[in-house]
Amino acid sequence: MDSSHSTKEAGDIPIPITNPKSKSSKTAPLVVANTKKTAHQPPVSRWKRCLGILDIILRICAIVASLAAATAMGTTDQQLPFFTQFFQFKAEYNDLPSFTFFVIANATAAAYLVLSLPFSIVCIVRPHIIGARLMLLIFDTIAVSLITAAASAAASIVYLAHNGNSNANWVAICQQFDDFCQRVTGAVVASFIAALIFIVLVIVSAVALRRN
Protein backbone atom coordinates (compact mmCIF):
# COMPACT_ATOMS: atom_id res chain seq x y z
CA MET A 1 0.00 0.00 0.00
CA ASP A 2 2.55 2.47 1.06
CA SER A 3 5.68 2.76 -0.96
CA SER A 4 8.41 3.62 1.34
CA HIS A 5 11.33 3.35 -0.94
CA SER A 6 12.27 5.92 -3.46
CA THR A 7 12.06 5.34 -7.16
CA LYS A 8 14.89 6.53 -9.28
CA GLU A 9 13.18 7.14 -12.57
CA ALA A 10 14.42 10.14 -14.44
CA GLY A 11 12.36 13.25 -13.90
CA ASP A 12 10.59 11.90 -10.88
CA ILE A 13 10.57 13.68 -7.61
CA PRO A 14 10.43 10.89 -5.12
CA ILE A 15 8.33 11.66 -2.13
CA PRO A 16 9.35 9.63 0.83
CA ILE A 17 6.47 8.18 2.70
CA THR A 18 7.82 6.60 5.82
CA ASN A 19 5.92 3.76 7.32
CA PRO A 20 6.70 3.83 11.00
CA LYS A 21 6.26 0.11 11.27
CA SER A 22 8.69 -0.76 8.60
CA LYS A 23 11.13 2.01 9.28
CA SER A 24 13.93 -0.15 10.36
CA SER A 25 13.63 -2.72 7.70
CA LYS A 26 13.97 -0.51 4.69
CA THR A 27 16.74 1.87 3.85
CA ALA A 28 16.11 5.53 4.46
CA PRO A 29 14.53 7.04 1.41
CA LEU A 30 16.65 9.22 -0.69
CA VAL A 31 15.35 12.73 -0.86
CA VAL A 32 16.10 14.27 -4.15
CA ALA A 33 14.66 17.68 -4.19
CA ASN A 34 14.95 18.49 -7.84
CA THR A 35 16.28 16.31 -10.55
CA LYS A 36 15.61 18.80 -13.29
CA LYS A 37 17.77 21.78 -13.85
CA THR A 38 16.04 25.10 -13.38
CA ALA A 39 14.18 25.97 -16.52
CA HIS A 40 14.86 29.71 -16.15
CA GLN A 41 17.73 31.71 -14.71
CA PRO A 42 17.16 33.83 -11.63
CA PRO A 43 16.07 37.31 -12.73
CA VAL A 44 19.14 39.03 -11.25
CA SER A 45 21.64 37.28 -13.45
CA ARG A 46 19.31 37.59 -16.42
CA TRP A 47 19.38 41.36 -16.46
CA LYS A 48 23.11 41.29 -15.84
CA ARG A 49 23.50 39.15 -18.92
CA CYS A 50 21.38 41.63 -20.90
CA LEU A 51 23.65 44.42 -19.72
CA GLY A 52 26.65 42.35 -20.75
CA ILE A 53 25.26 41.84 -24.26
CA LEU A 54 24.54 45.57 -24.53
CA ASP A 55 28.10 46.19 -23.37
CA ILE A 56 29.55 44.04 -26.16
CA ILE A 57 27.41 45.63 -28.85
CA LEU A 58 28.43 49.11 -27.70
CA ARG A 59 32.08 48.07 -27.63
CA ILE A 60 31.95 46.92 -31.23
CA CYS A 61 30.30 50.20 -32.27
CA ALA A 62 33.00 52.14 -30.42
CA ILE A 63 35.74 50.12 -32.17
CA VAL A 64 34.25 51.07 -35.53
CA ALA A 65 33.93 54.74 -34.58
CA SER A 66 37.43 55.25 -33.22
CA LEU A 67 39.10 53.23 -35.98
CA ALA A 68 37.20 55.29 -38.55
CA ALA A 69 38.35 58.49 -36.87
CA ALA A 70 41.97 57.40 -36.71
CA THR A 71 42.11 56.26 -40.33
CA ALA A 72 40.19 59.27 -41.67
CA MET A 73 42.64 61.58 -39.98
CA GLY A 74 45.70 59.49 -40.73
CA THR A 75 45.11 59.25 -44.45
CA THR A 76 44.77 62.97 -45.08
CA ASP A 77 47.03 64.27 -47.78
CA GLN A 78 46.11 67.18 -49.92
CA GLN A 79 48.38 68.95 -52.29
CA LEU A 80 47.40 72.17 -53.95
CA PRO A 81 48.08 72.30 -57.69
CA PHE A 82 50.46 75.28 -57.54
CA PHE A 83 53.80 75.52 -55.80
CA THR A 84 56.70 77.85 -55.19
CA GLN A 85 60.12 77.18 -53.76
CA PHE A 86 59.55 78.81 -50.40
CA PHE A 87 55.95 78.08 -49.50
CA GLN A 88 54.40 74.75 -48.76
CA PHE A 89 51.08 73.91 -50.34
CA LYS A 90 50.68 70.45 -48.90
CA ALA A 91 48.56 69.56 -45.89
CA GLU A 92 49.00 66.37 -43.92
CA TYR A 93 47.87 65.34 -40.49
CA ASN A 94 51.34 65.46 -38.97
CA ASP A 95 51.76 69.13 -39.78
CA LEU A 96 49.81 69.85 -36.63
CA PRO A 97 50.83 68.08 -33.41
CA SER A 98 47.25 68.06 -32.15
CA PHE A 99 46.25 65.91 -35.09
CA THR A 100 49.16 63.55 -34.48
CA PHE A 101 48.00 63.15 -30.88
CA PHE A 102 44.46 62.58 -32.20
CA VAL A 103 45.54 59.70 -34.45
CA ILE A 104 47.63 58.07 -31.71
CA ALA A 105 44.90 58.41 -29.07
CA ASN A 106 42.15 57.01 -31.27
CA ALA A 107 44.33 54.10 -32.35
CA THR A 108 45.14 53.37 -28.70
CA ALA A 109 41.46 53.47 -27.77
CA ALA A 110 40.56 51.08 -30.60
CA ALA A 111 43.33 48.67 -29.54
CA TYR A 112 42.16 48.81 -25.90
CA LEU A 113 38.59 48.06 -26.98
CA VAL A 114 39.66 45.03 -28.98
CA LEU A 115 41.65 43.75 -25.99
CA SER A 116 38.74 44.32 -23.61
CA LEU A 117 36.28 42.24 -25.65
CA PRO A 118 37.31 38.96 -23.92
CA PHE A 119 36.72 40.52 -20.50
CA SER A 120 33.32 41.64 -21.64
CA ILE A 121 32.49 38.13 -22.81
CA VAL A 122 33.62 36.77 -19.44
CA CYS A 123 31.20 39.18 -17.77
CA ILE A 124 28.33 37.76 -19.84
CA VAL A 125 29.19 34.13 -19.26
CA ARG A 126 29.81 34.55 -15.52
CA PRO A 127 27.69 37.46 -14.31
CA HIS A 128 28.73 37.18 -10.69
CA ILE A 129 32.39 38.05 -11.26
CA ILE A 130 32.84 41.57 -9.94
CA GLY A 131 36.57 41.98 -10.47
CA ALA A 132 36.33 41.92 -14.26
CA ARG A 133 33.50 44.48 -14.23
CA LEU A 134 35.39 46.79 -11.91
CA MET A 135 38.48 46.55 -14.09
CA LEU A 136 36.42 47.37 -17.18
CA LEU A 137 34.98 50.37 -15.33
CA ILE A 138 38.42 51.67 -14.39
CA PHE A 139 39.90 51.34 -17.86
CA ASP A 140 36.77 52.67 -19.57
CA THR A 141 36.97 55.81 -17.43
CA ILE A 142 40.58 56.38 -18.42
CA ALA A 143 39.64 55.78 -22.06
CA VAL A 144 36.83 58.36 -21.82
CA SER A 145 39.27 61.01 -20.72
CA LEU A 146 41.84 60.07 -23.39
CA ILE A 147 39.38 60.14 -26.28
CA THR A 148 37.69 63.32 -25.06
CA ALA A 149 41.08 65.01 -24.83
CA ALA A 150 42.06 63.97 -28.36
CA ALA A 151 38.70 64.86 -29.88
CA SER A 152 38.45 68.29 -28.34
CA ALA A 153 42.07 69.26 -29.01
CA ALA A 154 41.54 68.40 -32.67
CA ALA A 155 38.16 70.17 -32.61
CA SER A 156 39.69 73.41 -31.41
CA ILE A 157 42.33 73.31 -34.16
CA VAL A 158 39.64 72.49 -36.74
CA TYR A 159 37.58 75.44 -35.50
CA LEU A 160 40.59 77.66 -35.96
CA ALA A 161 41.20 76.25 -39.41
CA HIS A 162 37.61 76.96 -40.43
CA ASN A 163 37.35 80.45 -38.98
CA GLY A 164 40.83 81.78 -38.35
CA ASN A 165 41.46 84.32 -35.63
CA SER A 166 41.94 87.97 -36.45
CA ASN A 167 43.24 88.88 -33.00
CA ALA A 168 46.19 86.53 -33.33
CA ASN A 169 46.60 86.93 -37.11
CA TRP A 170 45.92 83.29 -37.77
CA VAL A 171 44.62 82.64 -41.29
CA ALA A 172 41.71 80.27 -41.89
CA ILE A 173 43.40 77.56 -43.94
CA CYS A 174 40.19 75.75 -44.82
CA GLN A 175 39.52 78.20 -47.59
CA GLN A 176 42.48 76.76 -49.45
CA PHE A 177 42.65 73.15 -48.23
CA ASP A 178 38.95 72.31 -48.26
CA ASP A 179 39.25 68.57 -48.92
CA PHE A 180 41.70 68.21 -46.03
CA CYS A 181 39.34 70.22 -43.82
CA GLN A 182 36.28 68.13 -44.63
CA ARG A 183 38.08 64.91 -43.87
CA VAL A 184 39.49 66.20 -40.63
CA THR A 185 36.11 67.52 -39.49
CA GLY A 186 34.51 64.14 -40.19
CA ALA A 187 37.22 62.41 -38.16
CA VAL A 188 36.57 64.70 -35.18
CA VAL A 189 32.83 63.97 -35.34
CA ALA A 190 33.48 60.20 -35.35
CA SER A 191 35.76 60.58 -32.36
CA PHE A 192 33.13 62.47 -30.38
CA ILE A 193 30.65 59.67 -31.12
CA ALA A 194 33.20 57.18 -29.78
CA ALA A 195 33.58 59.29 -26.60
CA LEU A 196 29.83 59.26 -26.10
CA ILE A 197 29.72 55.48 -26.50
CA PHE A 198 32.50 55.16 -23.91
CA ILE A 199 30.47 57.21 -21.42
CA VAL A 200 27.48 54.90 -21.96
CA LEU A 201 29.81 51.92 -21.40
CA VAL A 202 30.90 53.37 -18.05
CA ILE A 203 27.27 53.75 -16.99
CA VAL A 204 26.45 50.19 -18.08
CA SER A 205 29.36 48.87 -16.01
CA ALA A 206 28.24 50.93 -13.01
CA VAL A 207 24.67 49.67 -13.20
CA ALA A 208 25.87 46.08 -13.62
CA LEU A 209 28.07 46.41 -10.53
CA ARG A 210 25.08 46.80 -8.25
CA ARG A 211 24.50 43.66 -6.26
CA ASN A 212 20.94 42.88 -5.68
Binding site: L134, I138, T141, A150, S156, A168, A195
Partner: protein, 179 residues
Protein backbone atom coordinates in the same frame (compact mmCIF):
# COMPACT_ATOMS: atom_id res chain seq x y z
CA UNK B 1 34.93 37.37 0.91
CA UNK B 2 34.13 36.33 4.41
CA UNK B 3 31.61 33.59 4.74
CA UNK B 4 29.11 34.51 7.32
CA UNK B 5 25.49 35.43 7.81
CA UNK B 6 24.44 37.88 5.15
CA UNK B 7 23.27 41.12 6.65
CA UNK B 8 20.85 42.81 4.35
CA UNK B 9 20.72 46.56 4.35
CA UNK B 10 23.93 47.09 6.33
CA UNK B 11 26.88 48.40 4.39
CA UNK B 12 30.40 47.27 5.25
CA UNK B 13 32.23 49.88 7.35
CA UNK B 14 34.77 50.49 4.56
CA UNK B 15 32.05 52.20 2.56
CA UNK B 16 31.87 54.98 5.11
CA UNK B 17 35.63 55.51 4.76
CA UNK B 18 35.23 55.61 0.99
CA UNK B 19 32.46 58.20 1.35
CA UNK B 20 34.62 60.41 3.57
CA UNK B 21 37.53 60.18 1.15
CA UNK B 22 35.09 61.03 -1.65
CA UNK B 23 34.02 64.18 0.22
CA UNK B 24 37.59 65.40 0.69
CA UNK B 25 38.56 64.71 -2.91
CA UNK B 26 35.54 66.71 -4.02
CA UNK B 27 36.66 69.65 -1.92
CA UNK B 28 40.13 69.61 -3.46
CA UNK B 29 38.65 69.30 -6.96
CA UNK B 30 36.41 72.33 -6.32
CA UNK B 31 39.43 74.40 -5.34
CA UNK B 32 41.39 73.29 -8.40
CA UNK B 33 38.70 73.92 -11.03
CA UNK B 34 37.54 77.19 -9.51
CA UNK B 35 41.11 78.50 -9.31
CA UNK B 36 41.81 77.62 -12.93
CA UNK B 37 38.56 79.21 -14.15
CA UNK B 38 39.32 82.43 -12.30
CA UNK B 39 42.96 82.50 -13.42
CA UNK B 40 41.93 82.16 -17.06
CA UNK B 41 39.08 84.65 -16.85
CA UNK B 42 41.17 87.41 -15.33
CA UNK B 43 43.82 87.46 -18.03
CA UNK B 44 44.34 90.87 -19.52
CA UNK B 45 47.56 92.01 -21.04
CA UNK B 46 48.13 95.19 -23.00
CA UNK B 47 51.40 95.72 -24.79
CA UNK B 48 53.00 99.15 -24.30
CA UNK B 49 53.01 99.80 -28.08
CA UNK B 50 49.88 101.01 -29.71
CA UNK B 51 48.79 102.24 -33.06
CA UNK B 52 45.45 103.32 -34.39
CA UNK B 53 44.82 100.31 -36.58
CA UNK B 54 46.16 97.25 -34.79
CA UNK B 55 45.21 96.21 -31.28
CA UNK B 56 47.83 94.99 -28.87
CA UNK B 57 45.61 93.65 -26.14
CA UNK B 58 45.12 90.02 -25.22
CA UNK B 59 42.20 88.68 -23.23
CA UNK B 60 40.78 85.23 -22.79
CA UNK B 61 37.74 85.87 -24.94
CA UNK B 62 39.83 86.66 -27.98
CA UNK B 63 40.12 82.92 -28.51
CA UNK B 64 36.87 80.89 -28.47
CA UNK B 65 38.64 77.83 -27.08
CA UNK B 66 39.57 79.79 -23.97
CA UNK B 67 36.00 81.02 -23.61
CA UNK B 68 34.81 77.42 -23.80
CA UNK B 69 37.44 76.47 -21.20
CA UNK B 70 36.24 79.13 -18.74
CA UNK B 71 32.60 78.15 -19.24
CA UNK B 72 33.31 74.42 -18.87
CA UNK B 73 35.44 74.91 -15.74
CA UNK B 74 32.78 77.07 -14.13
CA UNK B 75 30.02 74.56 -14.89
CA UNK B 76 32.08 71.69 -13.48
CA UNK B 77 33.00 73.57 -10.30
CA UNK B 78 29.34 74.55 -9.77
CA UNK B 79 28.34 70.90 -10.24
CA UNK B 80 31.02 69.77 -7.76
CA UNK B 81 29.76 72.23 -5.14
CA UNK B 82 26.21 70.93 -5.59
CA UNK B 83 27.35 67.31 -5.43
CA UNK B 84 28.89 67.88 -2.01
CA UNK B 85 25.34 67.43 -0.72
CA UNK B 86 25.17 63.92 -2.23
CA UNK B 87 28.57 63.17 -0.80
CA UNK B 88 27.45 64.09 2.71
CA UNK B 89 24.33 61.99 2.20
CA UNK B 90 26.51 59.00 1.37
CA UNK B 91 28.56 59.51 4.52
CA UNK B 92 25.44 59.53 6.63
CA UNK B 93 23.66 56.65 4.90
CA UNK B 94 26.31 54.46 3.36
CA UNK B 95 24.11 51.87 1.68
CA UNK B 96 22.25 53.91 -0.92
CA UNK B 97 22.71 52.44 -4.38
CA UNK B 98 20.67 54.54 -6.79
CA UNK B 99 22.15 57.86 -5.74
CA UNK B 100 25.64 56.39 -6.06
CA UNK B 101 24.92 55.32 -9.63
CA UNK B 102 23.48 58.76 -10.39
CA UNK B 103 26.52 60.44 -8.88
CA UNK B 104 28.82 58.20 -10.91
CA UNK B 105 27.00 59.11 -14.13
CA UNK B 106 27.14 62.85 -13.37
CA UNK B 107 30.81 62.59 -12.39
CA UNK B 108 31.60 60.93 -15.71
CA UNK B 109 29.79 63.65 -17.64
CA UNK B 110 31.57 66.36 -15.65
CA UNK B 111 34.93 64.71 -16.22
CA UNK B 112 34.28 64.55 -19.95
CA UNK B 113 33.32 68.22 -20.05
CA UNK B 114 36.31 69.35 -18.03
CA UNK B 115 38.70 67.25 -20.09
CA UNK B 116 37.24 68.66 -23.30
CA UNK B 117 37.75 72.23 -22.10
CA UNK B 118 41.26 71.59 -20.83
CA UNK B 119 42.50 69.88 -23.93
CA UNK B 120 40.98 72.47 -26.29
CA UNK B 121 42.79 75.16 -24.32
CA UNK B 122 45.97 73.07 -24.31
CA UNK B 123 45.92 72.76 -28.10
CA UNK B 124 45.67 76.53 -28.45
CA UNK B 125 48.38 77.12 -25.84
CA UNK B 126 50.69 74.73 -27.68
CA UNK B 127 50.06 76.70 -30.88
CA UNK B 128 50.64 79.98 -29.11
CA UNK B 129 53.93 78.81 -27.65
CA UNK B 130 55.39 77.21 -30.77
CA UNK B 131 53.50 78.56 -33.73
CA UNK B 132 53.23 76.47 -36.85
CA UNK B 133 55.14 77.47 -39.94
CA UNK B 134 53.40 74.94 -42.18
CA UNK B 135 50.13 76.82 -41.89
CA UNK B 136 51.72 80.20 -41.17
CA UNK B 137 50.38 80.59 -37.69
CA UNK B 138 52.59 82.86 -35.66
CA UNK B 139 53.59 82.10 -32.05
CA UNK B 140 51.92 84.88 -30.10
CA UNK B 141 53.58 83.98 -26.82
CA UNK B 142 56.73 85.76 -27.87
CA UNK B 143 54.88 89.04 -27.56
CA UNK B 144 52.25 88.37 -24.92
CA UNK B 145 54.48 86.84 -22.31
CA UNK B 146 52.51 87.25 -19.10
CA UNK B 147 49.21 86.32 -20.80
CA UNK B 148 50.77 83.06 -21.93
CA UNK B 149 52.22 82.22 -18.53
CA UNK B 150 48.93 82.82 -16.76
CA UNK B 151 46.99 80.76 -19.26
CA UNK B 152 49.43 77.85 -19.08
CA UNK B 153 49.33 77.92 -15.29
CA UNK B 154 45.57 77.78 -15.14
CA UNK B 155 45.60 74.59 -17.17
CA UNK B 156 47.44 72.80 -14.36
CA UNK B 157 44.53 73.32 -11.96
CA UNK B 158 42.01 71.92 -14.37
CA UNK B 159 44.09 68.83 -15.17
CA UNK B 160 44.35 68.21 -11.44
CA UNK B 161 40.56 68.46 -11.37
CA UNK B 162 40.30 65.84 -14.12
CA UNK B 163 42.55 63.40 -12.23
CA UNK B 164 40.52 63.91 -9.05
CA UNK B 165 37.26 63.32 -10.91
CA UNK B 166 38.64 60.05 -12.29
CA UNK B 167 39.55 59.01 -8.74
CA UNK B 168 36.03 59.91 -7.60
CA UNK B 169 34.52 57.74 -10.32
CA UNK B 170 36.71 54.82 -9.29
CA UNK B 171 35.77 55.27 -5.63
CA UNK B 172 32.08 55.23 -6.52
CA UNK B 173 32.60 52.07 -8.55
CA UNK B 174 34.45 50.34 -5.72
CA UNK B 175 31.78 51.38 -3.21
CA UNK B 176 29.04 50.03 -5.50
CA UNK B 177 30.73 46.66 -5.85
CA UNK B 178 31.23 46.24 -2.14
CA UNK B 179 27.71 46.45 -0.88
Amino acid sequence: MKAGPLQLGVAPPENRGIAILDFFLRLIAIVGTLASAIAMATTNQTLPIFSQFIRFKAKFNDLPSFTFFVVASSIVSAYLILSLAFSILHIVKANLVNTRVLLLFLDTAAMGLLMAGSSAATAIVQLAHNGNNKVNWFAICQQYNSFCKRVSGSLIGSYAGVVLLILLILLSGVALSRR
